[in-house]
Amino acid sequence: MSHTDPPVDSPVETPVDDAAPLLVARGLHKAFGDNQVLRGIDLEVYRGQVVALIGPSGSGKTTLLRSLDALEIPDSGTLAFDGGPAIDFALPVRQSTRAALRDRSAMVFQHHNLFPHRTVLENVIEGPVQVRRVPRAQAVARAEELLARVGLAEKRDAYPHELSGGQQQRVGIVRALALSPDLLLFDEPTSALDPELVGEVLSVMKELADEGWTMVVVTHELAFARAVADEVLFLDGGVVVERGAPAQLFTEPAEERTQRFLHRILHPLD
């Protein structure tokens, strides 16, 4: 296309500012009863970026992730996608707002949460066909393509209980991909797996990162975070203690709490 001679009556394209974040969260607070789980968290995620959330259990990382998909509703703070109007959690959150958030993102759960009464294929096309109104044949073709990519093409008619844990989680990832979300959310996707099955799931996730999917990953797999993430956030006590590029955060953490956490994980016997 020529830059000098644009057609006069072509529709004006919405200017896409590549530098603007896909998602901006500001000051997220959340309490369960007396337990303050999030105490003012800011988060930006840019398109194509992989953000890893690490931290001890109870640090708020899973609650933060679940807030992005409206599985938890923060008590206060704001959340905006693509520079659009911010959702203010201090106000009542409508069902339509939750639906809009879920339209943006897709979640991969720790315990996969596949639908046990549906075959692998049915699990994958449920969202596209039932919610997004994609024609069934088209949804099936897309599902088969995605299943083939994670090496599960021949399992399309199996029920989830007939699969190994690693296969189940790969179907969970495909179910999320089939929604073509802007944002993929992973909630400790490998921590319920037998150790020898972790690799097959992480390698799929690495491929997705390489393909440019935008991902937020809660994980205990520090080697994965280090190799794949563009930014790592260390959470403790409901706040972001430290954030930075993995090379910096893992080798020269600035905060003492980060140092202690990394030391405990990397040298559990000390």
């Binding site: 599985l71 639906a99 009464h117 919610v131 029920y159």
Partner: protein, 219 residues
């Protein structure tokens, strides 16, 4: 043993079961399940008023005898000007009764489905009601088949109470022949046998249904 009487009475009693007992039980069970689902959802809902209404309904149904409920509908309602025929009276009373008992079964079955299944439904974009219909209820159905089969089999036998409000069904047929022939022991044992046969067939149906729904369950 009066074999002739057995031979003569067996078919009318079975026919009373096929034309009276089973349709009455089947109709009441289907309507009762619909009531039960509504009551169960009211109980589960966060709304205190709805939940309270559901709780009160179950309490009344379980806390009063079925025979009394039946008599209130058939003999009681006419005194406030509502006259209902025997058959619809029986359907109303039995449906309301099943609704109360099955509501607790369905509620427990829905609650037995892990919360992660709701969340998975929501994250693929489904609304609460669609998630309930497509994800939760099919799994709850599997869990509730054995206890609901119990409810149904009890109902089949309880419909014998309808003979007291003049509904023509299995037991009333037996009663009529017994009164006519004065062979009470024989006729009532025969009625018992036919009930037992019906229930045995239904229990077999339960097994088939359970196996069908078992496809996706890990063994």
């Amino acid at each position: 043993m009066d074999w002739d009487l057995i031979a003569e009475s067996f078919w009318p009693i079975v026919l009373g079961g096929l034309r009276g007992t089973l349709p009455l039980a089947g109709t009441s069970f289907v309507i009762g399940l619909a009531i039960a689902l509504g009551i169960a959802l009211m109980r589960i809902s966060g709304n205190r008023l709805l939940s309270g209404i559901g709780r009160a309904y179950i309490s009344v149904v379980r806390g009063t005898p079925l025979l009394v409920q039946l008599f209130v509908v058939f003999y009681g309602l006419p005194s406030i000007g509502v006259v209902v025929d025997p058959w619809p009276s029986a359907v109303v009373a039995f449906s309301l009764n099943v609704g109360g008992y099955a509501a607790e079964v369905i509620r427990a079955a829905i609650l037995s489905v892990p919360k992660g299944q709701w969340e998975a439904g929501w994250t693929v974009g489904m609304s609460r009601s669609r998630t309930l219909r497509r994800i939760i209820l099919p799994q709850a159905a599997r869990v509730s088949v054995p206890p609901l089969s119990n409810t149904f089999i009890s109902l089949v036998k309880d419909t014998s109470l309808a003979s007291l409000i003049l509904v023509t069904e299995l037991f009333r047929e037996a009663q009529k022949i017994a009164a006519f022939s004065s062979e009470f022991m024989l006729l009532y044992l025969e009625a018992a046998l036919v009930y037992w046969l019906f229930c045995t067939v239904l229990a077999t149906g339960q097994d088939v249904l359970e196996k069908r729904l078992d496809r996706y369950v890990a063994h």
